[in-house]
Symmetry: C2
Subunit: 308 residues, 2 copies
């Protein structure tokens, strides 16, 4: 099944202890779509400015991503600049220029309306909800959000969460969304009570855990945990979470049905794509992978955690 992804396209200027890159193609929809493209057909909805050239679009098209839903607006593309210090867990933002993204109102091409799997990248919860409502017949909706919306648009986010089947956020976001609950399991249960059937909490270098609401997908409510790979050099953590979501949702889209085994494997594939993303700057590594490399790392993840 093809997957429809909505989110940002950006040009990122990033400095990390491993180096620096300027105006690299990024944004949540870009990372997500590139990662998902190794598993399924991807349709992208986003907005770009006049500085987004055929060369940029070609990066997506080479991965057979359907870019008809990318709106070309007058002005400049969203730009973000940030630095990561030595621990690489948190970025210090140098600048944010929303540009055309400020007035982004996602428009779904009619060719996309039959999409069965939807991913709502990190944009205003109201826009996420609008997109979800515009695509009838969706069978599964994944979603992301961030501290900014959790703090500033909690009510709107609450409405959107009722439309999301699987929410993917990190530890801090989960605890914040749960009203400051510090215990991970209790935080997860509070978030699940807001609407989603499943919640993926990403732990950065420690992997990710999926929690299920009782009865979700008919597959039991025991959590499942996938590892992250200890990596010698994290060059650039930008986009790791979106790449994780792309691997996770992409693998699910490629399967006939959703069962517990599919979701477990999807969580592993999420970790695999996140681990590849951070090995190079920007989306570089995600542009040039092969399914064989992905499955080889999947196998490494298995060996990293499985008893005989």
């Amino acid at each position: 099944m093809s997957i429809l992804a909505v989110g940002s396209v950006a040009f990122d200027t990033i400095a990390t202890p491993a180096g620096k890159v300027e105006n690299a193609l990024g944004g949540s929809a870009t990372y997500f779509s590139l990662a998902a493209s190794y598993f399924t057909d991807v349709r992208m909805v986003a907005v770009v400015g006049e500085d987004f050239t055929a060369e940029h679009e070609n990066i997506l098209n080479k991965r057979k991503i359907d870019t008809r839903g990318i709106e070309h607006a007058k002005g400049k593309t969203f730009r973000w600049g940030g630095q990561y210090m030595e621990n690489l867990n948190e970025a210090k933002t140098d600048f944010t220029e929303l540009n055309v993204f400020e007035k982004f109102h996602p428009r779904i091409p009619k060719e996309y309306k039959d999409s069965k799997i939807l991913f709502l990248g990190n944009i205003h919860p109201n826009l996420q909800a609008t997109v979800r409502r515009e695509v009838d017949g969706v069978k599964l909706t994944g979603g992301d959000t961030m501290n900014f919306w959790i703090q500033g648009s909690r009510k709107e986010l609450g409405e959107t969460l009722k439309l999301v089947n699987i929410l993917l956020i990190n530890d801090d976001e989960a605890k914040m969304l749960a009203g400051g609950e510090k215990n991970l399991l209790r935080a997860a249960n509070k978030v699940l009570a807001m609407g989603p059937q499943a919640l993926v909490i990403k732990h950065g270098e420690y992997g990710a855990t999926i929690f299920f609401r009782e009865g979700a997908f008919g597959i039991g409510s025991h959590p499942f945990r996938a590892p992250a790979l200890p990596i010698d050099e994290v060059k650039d953590p930008t986009g790791a979470g979106d790449s994780f979501a792309g691997g996770f949702m992409g693998y699910i889209s490629s399967q006939e049905q959703i069962n517990r085994e599919v979701i477990k494997r999807a969580l592993f594939y999420g970790g695999v794509m996140g681990s590849y993303a951070v090995e190079r700057f920007g989306t570089e590594r995600l542009q040039s992978l092969s399914r064989e490399e992905i499955d080889a790392r999947f196998q490494i993840f298995r060996e990293l955690t499985h008893l005989g």
Copy 2:
């Protein structure tokens, strides 16, 4: 094979968001020995004061722990008081009264000298080294340490690390021991270069990873990662690391030989014992477990992480 454990016995006064306990039997050797006692025979070397009664000793003897190596000295037993705030990751120490522990010089009873497996709990590195040298014919030595020795006795610790086969420490300790290296894999490799064949880094609620020096135990150098169980209520994190070490070393001691599968399972058992320890205050839960309960949770850990 029986295991010889050296470390502290203490009376702990602990406050957490879940409650409070006063003068509960604790200390690194106590947690370690109780956890290991479900897998193998344990011999304890420690020092206590006159306030350590037959009732306390009975807690250990009920688990068939050999307490002949516990020295009874004039004065009071080591006492520690601390509080955990809501995140439960770090204790704020209220008081430390070393008492008889201040002059502790471990004496190994001659009945213990044939011990093949040794665990050096968190005491001064010089004392750890002395114990190791006093027990000839040891086949495997596990060890712990802490920030206090890493910062204050780095040289002595360096000598001790050459005598330790498997070092068990947490993320912060590993990074500090590696001279402030922030990348976990690189920190692990730096610590392994100091002597140990294997390094277990404990990640708290995210589990633990074991790293191997090339050629260690002849079982390959790929790391292995075991999960921790998402727990609804962590009542008291005191002793979680020592309980982890007890499960890990105890399981290894119970096996005929050390191979990769044994070490992987040992890491799982470490996580199981750590997860039980934190469910109640002090050593309460570790006193009353059964091997069936332990293996049931081992199975939950497996289901938490294993693909079909």
